[in-house]
């Protein structure tokens, strides 16, 4: 294809990518480097229905507007926002590490910093949910592939349900089922004959519920991809393996898995990226007390009574960096293979 034709073909999507992906990222990076202007305050009389009149500070809007016109982006703060307590907390971290406390105490203090608390859960979610969901998806794919044709359709549909359901709704449904009045919560209480047992009260059980939900909702994606992959496994290789006396397990181990390995890399890549942005289940499970994630921190900065764009921008950039670090081994491998093939 001539370069010109190729360029004409990808131009529309290129424009869309620049507009909707590249520019917003540039804007987020830019915002994260700035903080608000100093607020010019004045003391004024303030009267309201309750409490009568009191003297309180107000923002002097005219003076602040003048500052804003002079520097529309705010005060340049460099990487200041990145290293403050709400993010990488370099000063706090240094103080904790150089203190002469025991390791467990240090660990507890690090987890007390909001960014690290969120990062730990995010990483655990990523590295527990991704392999388990892939394993579950793969076994469903194998099982469905072995089914007779008539039953395949409905079973595939049911296996895909967790992916069809909106994540927030899915997590709410599971959350209600796990509440003490819900079918799962009541059953668990009955099994352990402990009427005070509640999945929502203990941090460990909340994490367990979130991870279980993650596996449940992520498995269908692996299933679909692996099921499609299974259709491409060469029949003659499988047949010759059978003639050689390979059992079903040996066929999976030595024929199917090597055949699907590149596909697994792709699934792992997408799933890691997805799981690093875990957000909905935390809201759905009302788990803010016991588990937070990087995406939840961004949401928390932007909602509520005061919106902190610089802080949210810094967390977003750190999330992007986190995704790049997570994916780098896979990306490097793909790049090497690509170069290998090209040569």
């Amino acid at each position: 294809m001539p370069h010109k034709t190729f360029f004409a073909f990808i131009l529309p999507s290129l424009i869309a990518m620049v507009l909707f992906i590249a520019l917003p990222i540039v804007s987020v990076v830019l915002q994260s480097l700035y903080v608000s202007h100093e607020q010019v305050m004045v003391e004024v009389e303030n009267c309201q229905p309750f409490g009568g009149c009191t003297s309180e500070l107000r923002v002097d809007s005219e003076a602040t507007a003048a500052l804003r016109d002079a520097q529309p982006l705010g005060r340049f703060n460099g990487l200041g926002t990145y290293v403050d307590r709400a993010h990488l907390a370099s000063a706090e971290l240094g103080a904790i590490l150089s203190s002469d406390r025991g390791l467990p105490a240090k660990w507890a203090q690090i987890l007390n910093l909001p960014f690290y608390k969120a990062l730990i859960f995010t990483l655990v979610y990523c590295f527990v949910v991704t392999p388990l969901a892939m394993a579950l998806g793969f076994s469903i794919a194998l099982a469905v592939n072995a089914l007779p044709k008539v039953t395949k359709g409905p079973i595939i549909f049911f296996s895909l349900l967790p992916m069809i359901i909106t994540p927030l709704i899915g997590s709410l449904i599971l959350y209600w089922m796990l509440s003490p009045n819900g079918i799962l919560g009541a059953t668990i209480q009955h099994i352990f004959s402990d009427p005070t047992l509640s999945l929502r009260a203990s941090p460990a059980l909340t994490w367990g519920a979130l991870l279980t939900y993650g596996v449940w909702t992520n498995a269908p994606f692996s299933f679909v991809v692996f099921y499609a992959g299974l259709q491409t496994v060469p029949g003659d290789t499988l047949e010759s393996a059978m003639i050689d006396g390979a059992s079903r397990w040996e066929r999976i181990r030595f024929v199917i898995i090597p055949h699907l390995a590149p596909l697994a890399t792709f699934v792992a890549l997408v799933q890691l990226m997805d799981n690093f942005r875990v957000f909905e289940p935390i809201v759905g499970f009302s788990a803010e007390a016991n588990a937070t994630s990087l995406s939840w921190l961004i949401y928390n900065d932007l909602s509520g009574d005061a919106q902190q764009f610089g802080s949210a921008g810094a967390t977003s950039v750190l999330t992007i960096i986190g995704v790049v670090i997570l994916l780098s081994p896979v990306l490097v491998r793909t790049w090497r293979e690509f170069k290998h093939k090209a040569v």
Binding site: Q48, Q307, G310
Partner: protein, 412 residues
Amino acid sequence: MKPLITLAISATALALGTGAAFADCGIEAGSVRILSNDFEALRTINATAQECASDAVVVTANATAEHKEIQVPALTINPAEYTVAVVANNSIVPLLNADLIRPLDDLVAKYGQDLQPSQLVKIDGKIMAIAFMGNGQHMFYRKDILEEAGIEPPKSYDEVLAAAAAIKEAGLMEYPLAASVKPGWDLAAEFVNNYLGTGGEFFAPGSAELTIDNENGREALRVMREMTAYMDPDYLTYDATEIQKEYEAGNVAIMNEWGSLAGAILDDEGAVDGVVENTVLTAAPTIGGGSTPAAALWWDGFTIAKNISDEDAEASFRAMVHGVSPDMMMANKDVATWLIAGYEPGPAAVGVIANANGGARPYPMQPYMGLLHTALSTELAEFMAGSEDADQALADVKAAYDTAARGAGFLQ
């Protein structure tokens, strides 16, 4: 206000909204576009204001729980997307900070005959908002349960704790207390209530310096934590609507709940037998030997956008004055604790009135209060879960607040 967001859609508001009657509000022309939170009282007001619509006057209303996120960008553009922003003590602050609402003195002089002086919210001598209803969290208790346990109605938090212990001991209820302490907006509001009750000040006078790391702060936290011993173990997932359900299910003897939900609790729907007729509404308990109810007083009111034409501003003001008219109030007496002329408190308003009469303080309107609210909402979670002590929690709140306030330009 956030705790009110999930109120069930009321049939009356719907009926009013769809079959809007036409009223002559005297408006010649203009466009009225209302942005408000989403609960019954506000929907009723929006529907009443929409009666002012005519061939020359268009009145639209957007009632949404996301109003706080929308209002600043929507009023920043010129002309503003909405001409009216319905706000409360806390949500007016971002609009004031960014200078997005206009003084109403001339409009009040011209068209505000029906308004009472106490409805006018004045900042620096200028009327910036017209309040029309009050709200706040106060005590709901079950007199039958207290009688059975042989205890007097509690007045202070220490008495509430003693009452809870007695009820539990008597085997009447496993978890007699409830409060909305879900990490997030609710948990922070609960701390603000208690801290206001101790008489403490959040900030050093004349600055944005936080001053809650003191005996008052520790007392507020002590009460919050000790109450959890008598709450359902899932308390960290309970917000205002969740404790309303628990209370209506008869699982709770004493709770702190929003006055604006009282109507829904006292109506004949949703509650098990014996709850409604035995429910008593009263002021929030006092705390730490104080004498005022440990609760913030809230008002809801309307503001008019700055970036709109004077014609639209006049039309909007007159439509909203019609929306909060004494006639509207008389037709919807039990929907809210109105601040409108001629209002006589009904059974659902007793608690908020008791808070106000007891001298409860208003929710602070300082420009940096929102940053503190956000810091409290996340940093108190571990304390409430029992994995952190009060000193550490207060230090964390201060650290988080200082970081945010520096980024926002309030602290150096």
